[in-house]
Every structure is written in C-alpha cells, then in structure tokens.
C-alpha cells in the first residue's frame, strides 16, 4: 500500500512569509510514526524554521539514513528532493550532494542508532570534512524501528522497557562533536519548540557543519520510568543555557552587546545571532569551556541544551578545497573538457 500524501489544502488566513508561502507549503506527507513520537515535533520545528527563514522548499535537499527518525524527511517539504539512504551512511551521501550542489540548503536527519552506532565513523568524518549542512540527530536512546534495543546514547543504568539496565557508557554526540572540532554544536529537546526553532534557524544560517542533537523521546520503547530519555526525565533534568534569537541581516544591531547575558554573534552572511545565556559566564564561543560545562553537568545528570558552541566564521568543505562558486554539477561540459588539442599535446609526454 502506498502512503498517502497529505492533502494540500489552502487556508486563506494562514500567515505568509516573504515568499508568499504559508506553513502548509513546508509540510510533507502524513507522518506514519507513533502518536506522540518526539520525532514528529522535530519535524514540526523544522517546518517552522524553514518557513520563517523564507527558504524556497525546492532549494532544499533532505537526506537521512534508516530508522524512525530517518523517515521524517518525508513529513516536511514535499517540494524538496528527499533521499532516504542506507543505515548510518547519510553523511557520505550528504558530502556528495554538497560537493555537487553547494548552492542547495542541506538538511540531514539521523537517529542515535544511525549516527552513533553503524554510522559513527561517517558522522565524525563529516564533521572533520566540514560539510556545509544542518545535521540533526533525533536522539531517543533506543533503536525505535527495530523495536527498542539500547542505542549507543543510552545512559548507564537507563532501563529498557523490560526493566534491564543498560551497562555501557553512552556516547554523547555533543561532546564528540566538540572533541572533533565541530563549528556549531547545539542540543535541543523535541518537547521545547520555543527553544528548538531558533536553534534550527541559527543552524541553517551557519556556514558550515551545524550539529543539532535533539532529545526526542520514543513513546513506544523508551518513555517509561527508569529511562533517562523519556519526556519526564528530560523535563526534570533539563538545563537550557543559551537561548537564541535570530536577527536578520537588514536589522540594526549593537554588535557583541554583553548586557544581561546577551551575546551577539555576527554570522558569515552578515546576519546576527543573538544569544541569551541563562548562565552569564557561559561562553558559547569557547570550545573548551563548552566541553567542560557539558561534562560537568552531565555528571550531575543534567541535560544541557541550547547553542552550546559556535565558531561564527568557519571554513567549510568547499572553501577548504578551493572550489569554484558555480555548483560543480552545473558547470557546462565545455568548461570541463580540455579538448582534443590538449590531449594531443599531452600525448607527447607519454613517449
């Protein structure tokens, strides 16, 4: 049976963005996830972020691996190309897409199984390569689609539905990304759209690899008591440290005003990201401070969220490689082929 596309109904009263589109224009097919699944909230946040950023849907490429989380690209941006690849290998596909089409907005959706188990190497190397993309890890501590095994992000002692405690140390993707020198590292919670949407908007404005870990509970297999990835647990241990407001290019701002914990960061495209810190001395521009802070609070069982680290003028893959501005896939063949005369000349050096 074929999944039904969500009917595209036009509500004349819905607000429109700069492109004249409504939020509905950023939606996709109906979700087939479990009712209440955290991933659906991430989808909703993404739809809002795209809408508010005035991004033309078809200028986005949506990629994912395999898993419940990786199904979500079908649920937003029906007018964008989507690619549901193989398990854990979205980063490689994204690298290829970025290589070919540096002009597209790229969003990759993954799960904790997808990114931290089978795809761990690819995840780390996409960070290293600085592929320009927004990388979202919908983190629920389990393998949802294969029915509830612990993932590599499950905390020690977190209990399975049957009550067995997990024994292995978790991989915290935020710490990992910081360790590997990622230039934008954030964590959100699918239960807090107020925080998540601005994070996503900032991530899309980041001219590099923007990593967003989203705690996104699995209501079916990991939302029970004893789980450290449940809605309840996350709410109880939630520690937002940095809230973000996005100030578009054209708006007047006072750069780097530091009052009241506010920190303004000028981004690559000239726009400004205004960060409001709940802890005044938290420095989201220091990789080491961010790492130490997250570690410290992790040991206290807290889930630190917000834009935790940002390097506002990073270099990305194309800059590092010195590629032309024209997307490689769109260079006319005439500019690619050296031609017969050149070949003939070249032949002389093979005698």
């Amino acid at each position: 049976m074929t999944y039904l596309p969500k009917p595209k109904v036009h509500h004349p009263d819905l607000p429109r963005n700069a492109l004249g589109l409504t939020r509905r224009d950023y939606e996709g097919s109906l979700s087939t996830l479990c009712a209440g699944c955290g991933h659906d909230s991430v989808t909703a946040a993404l739809i809002l972020a795209f809408f508010e950023l005035d991004i033309p849907p078809h200028r986005v490429a949506k990629l994912s691996g395999i898993g419940c989380s990786s199904k979500t690209p079908t649920y937003f941006l029906r007018e964008a190309h989507g690619f549901n690849g193989v398990h854990g290998r979205m980063p490689a596909l994204a690298t290829g897409v970025s290589a070919a089409r540096r002009d597209l907005w790229l969003v990759g959706i993954s799960g904790d199984g997808d990114s931290l188990s089978i795809g761990l190497g690819q995840f780390c190397h996409a960070i290293r390569r600085r592929v320009r993309m927004v990388y979202i890890l919908e983190n629920n501590g389990v393998y949802g689609l294969t029915k509830g095994q612990f993932s590599a992000s499950a905390d020690i002692g977190s209990k399975s539905k049957k009550g067995e405690p997990n024994q292995q140390a978790p991989i915290d993707p935020v710490l990992l990304a910081l360790s590997l020198g990622a230039t934008f590292v954030a964590r959100g919670f699918s239960g807090d759209k107020e925080q998540l949407v601005p994070i996503l908007k900032a991530a899309f404005r980041h001219h590099g690899f923007a990593f967003v870990d989203v705690i996104s509970p699995c209501v079916t297999f990991n939302d029970h008591e004893g789980s450290t990835k449940s809605y309840q647990y996350t709410r109880d241990h939630y520690k937002p440290v940095v809230h973000a407001d996005f100030v578009p290019t054209h708006q007047e701002i006072v750069a780097h005003s530091e009052e009241g914990g506010v920190l303004d960061i000028r981004l690559h495209d000239g726009s400004v990201l205004r960060l409001r810190r709940t802890e005044r001395d938290y420095d989201p521009t220091s990789r080491d401070a961010a790492y130490a802070y997250v570690r410290r609070h992790q040991d206290q069982g807290e889930v630190v969220t917000g834009i935790l680290y940002i390097d506002s003028s990073p270099s990305e893959m194309h800059a590092l490689s010195g590629t032309v501005e024209t997307p490689l896939a769109q260079i006319p063949y005439e500019q690619l082929c050296p031609g017969g005369a050149a070949l003939d000349q070249l032949m002389d050096s093979f005698r």
């Binding site: 033309p56 078809h58 190309h81 005698r351």
Partner: protein, 619 residues
Amino acid sequence: MNDLGPLSPDEAAAAALARPCCGGVNEFALKIATVNGTGSASANGLLMQAIFRMGIPVSGKNVFPSNIQGLPTWYEIRASGRGHTARTPVFDLMVAMNPATYRQDIAEVRSGGYVLHDSTWPLQQSLQRPDVHFLGIPLARLCAEAFQGGRERLLMKNIMYVGALAALLDIDLEVVRTLLGEQYGAKKGLLESNVTALRMGHEYALGHFACPLPVRLQRLSATDGQVLMDGNTAAALGCLYAGATVAAWYPITPATSVMEAFRGFCSRFRRDEQGRNRFLIVQAEDELAAAGIVIGAGWAGARAFTPTSGPGISLMNEFIGLAYYAEIPAVFIDVQRAGPSTGMPTRTQQSDLLLCAYASHGDTRHILLLPADPEECFHFAVRAFDLAERFQTPVFVLSDLDIGMNDWMIPRLRWDDSFRPDRGKVPSAEQLERMEIFYRYLDVDGDGICARTLPGIHPRGAYFTRGSGHNKLGGYTEDAAEYTEVMQRLARKIRGAAEAVPGPIILRREGARASLVTMGGCDRAVREAIDRLAEEGLPLDYMRVRGFPFGDAVARFLAEHEINWVVEQNRDAQLRSLLLLETKVARERLRSITSYGGLPLSWQQVAEGILHDGEQSVP
C-alpha cells in the same frame, strides 16, 4: 579432444610449447631483479622508454612486493619487433642485482641466456650454471670510486647497469641521454652523475664483453603514433574528459594512482582564471563513504566516480544495491588485484567479475566494462559515465593491476571534440514547468528508463528517493504487485544495456572451428597464443568480451564454435560462469583455461591450458 585442424589442439599446443624459443634481434625479454626503495624503478623505466623511442614495441611488467622498502622486486622488459607485448616467462637476460634472490633469478634464465651481476663480490660457486653466460660488472666498486654518499652510490648503480645494457643490447646511448635530460633537465648535478654512471656502465661493457649480444635491438619505426601509458593514468584522463567533477576514494593498491593522476590532470586542466577548482576530490574515511559520496553527487547531478580494488568493492556492496534500486548513476573503477581478502595486493587478477556483476543482496545486476589496455581504460571510463547516466545505475570499469600500473604501448589517445556527454533523461526546469505532474519511476517509452530529476531545479521535480520498496509513481510501497512491477522494469532496463555496452572484439581465422574467448588484460597473451598455434596449424577464432550484459554478438559467436576456451585470470572460471549464466550457450562448448598466480598472462599459459584441458576442474 576434438580434431579441429591438421593437428589436434593438444598436439598443436604441445608443438608450440616445444618449439625452441630463444631471443634474437628485436625479440627478447630481460628481467631485472633488485630491492625496492633503491631507485631501480626509474632506471628500469628509462630502459623501457629507450627501447620504445628506438621504435621497437616493448612492454614492462613491474613485479613488486607489498611493502615500502627492502624487499625483492623485479622488472620484466620484453622487446618484440613483431609486436608481441604480453608477458613472457622466458628470459634471455637476467640483471641480477639482488643477492637475496640470486638463486631463483639465475635459475629463471633460459639456457644459453645471460646473467648480468655485480662482480664486486664473487658469485657463490653453487649459483653458477654452465649453460648460461655470466657477465660480471663490479658495479658497487665502480660506484664507490665515482660517487659520494651512500644514497647516490645506490642510485647510480642502477643507471650503471642501464649503461651496460645499452652496450650489450645496442641501445642508442643518445636516446638514453636525451631521456635523462628530459627527466633531470633543471637539476644539473643529478643529470651529470646520471650521465657519468651511464657512460661508465656502457664503457665497462664495451670493454669487457662482446657487445652487442645476439639478443639486441635494431631501430624500427613500429612505435610511431604510439605512446607508453599505464591504465590508471588513462582511466583518470577518461574521467577528466568525461566531465567528472566529483571524485571520492580511499587509498588502495593498485587503484591509488587513478586518483593521483586525476588530481594531477585536474590541477592542470580544471582551474578557472582565479585558480579555483572545477573539481572536488574527497579522500574519504573508507570505501563505504567513498561510494556514498559518489552516489550522493550522482543523485545531485554531478558526474562522480571512485577508484578502488576488491576489498573496496566488498565494502561498497550495500551502497551499490542502493544505487541499483534507487537508480542513481555512479562509476566504480575496480583495479583488480589478487584476492580473496587482502590477498596479494601487488599481484594482478580478474577475480571480481562475478561480484561486480551481481553485487549486493537481493536481485541486482550491473553494467560492467572490461578494458584490455590503457587505451580502452580511457575510452571505457568516458563510456562508463554515459552509461551510468543513461541507465541511471552503477557502472563498473574492471581494470586490473597489470593494466593499471604497468606501462603499455598503445596508440596515441585521440579526442573527438564533437563529443557531448549523454546525461540521460533529465528534464530541465522548463520541461518540468510544462509537465502537469512528474513521477520518478514511470516508464513512458518502454525502454525501462524513467525520467530523473535533479534537486533544486523545480518544485514539480521533487520526489523522494529511497532504497525501500517503491511503486512506479515513486511512492513507498509494500504491495507485491507494485513492487514486482518496478523490479521487472529494472531487469528490463539493464537487459537493454546489452547493446549499449562496447561489443566484443572478434577476430577470425580461416578454417577455425574453435575459439579462444577472453576479457581484459589477457588480450595480448591470447592473441599471441592464437598466432603461435596458427603457426602449428591450429586456426582459432578470437573473441574478447568488453561489456556486460552480453549482447547478441557474444552469444552468436559462442554458438558458432564447437569449443570455446574461456581464458581468464581467476580460479573459479568467473567469465565462463557468466557466459554460461547469461547466454544460452551449451555447457559443452565452454571450456576453461585459468591462470591466477598473480602475474600477467603469457601465451604459454594459454597453450598449456589447451594441452591440459580437462585436467583443470571448474568447481
């Protein structure tokens, strides 16, 4: 065995093998035994190039160990005025520079042949052979006298034996000197030492031996219009000319130099006025990622490829299946080496054929191109991109270490400037604008190939690509009929490629009722075998398959011959298997000749295969 000529095949093979073969003017082979990391490679290349410049067809086979420094390594040079440039295991002359392998090297010279060795130290008595001429030159001593420093002395020994060989084989010293000049042009000091060493070797030989030997050279003009090139360089050139812009790879012997060459060519031909790159090469973290990058780039509309070897193909299996099923163009250049597993990374083989034909789980089938030499590496690389985009599927170019890393004599590569890439059915924004609705997997014209849109072009082109079940409209499905319909179209699509891949090369001989069938780098040895057997009165036809799926011509040829010996370089008769499976030929008409020790094929192995036919059991 059948009676197919005046002599039965085995009699003819035996006769050919028994014919005394010893080299003469412009027909001989020599082997140079050294230690790797001592600089002999460039000296050996020099020698081969000099012969080539003298107009005599030549080939060089580098037999090197899978390590970096200090182990035995060999270089085999064959000069053949008649143009036989396959490997030959019969050596007229051995340049024995490595005491560690003296015994085996000296044993390999044909009776009546020559051993050139370093006589600074006396040769052990037990190594002597009465039927061989020993030519001793005190290379180490001469070098110690003439040069300073250990490294230079080591290097100059090599050039010195080149000088001696020039005298012994009558190589034009001027040619060698010119070559050295081209190589060291700017580096005056180096050039000088080289010329000195060359001269010293030359003079020593002239002064001590009866130069030239009976095996020697005489200028010809049989290399006009030819070049010396290795297949990896040629494949890289093909990718360049095909318009590939994205390349991803993970280093692996013997494929590494494809990317090195591609990078070199791109630096030269693919920079814009500001020096920015019209290409992007990603050194991936492994082969899985390399495959993914190529598939991602192909999906997004770039021509992309990855060079690799057997272990890489194994690792790419999952991604290959995705590209097949989701219909994404991707080019894989598999420079095959001896398997299984790590196998012998510096030895050649043709043993990834079956794997590539059916790579990945589930029902899959892939387009293969089988180049025989660097010339075809160039053209097939170009063709691979056209086929990948036209058929929206992975295409494999199956080269091997022998083709890829050794220099082969081939006609100068030519390029037709009217060539334009076949990008397949990719609707433009304008075309999409005019469509009412677009469905990704709908076969409107019955060839099994559907229109493919690229991201970011037009909202109407949007579709969802997935490796999971989908119907012809592009929707997700788990429905048996919908799933089956797409799978049947895929089978039809790939079948349709049979007439689009390069057809077989067929050579016929008067009166032939049997044939030799082969692929890839076996070409020259098999053709030499055909010549030799014809001389013994056994006419054989020849077919070299160059693409898969097989076209009608392949099946027809097999059906025309009572016996088709399928000659290939793997243990399990993989080409024969593929022919058995994918044509309707009767089993009895297919015999097998395999050789898989890792060295390039020789005509003798083919003849021996015919002689011992039936003894080899195909599993």
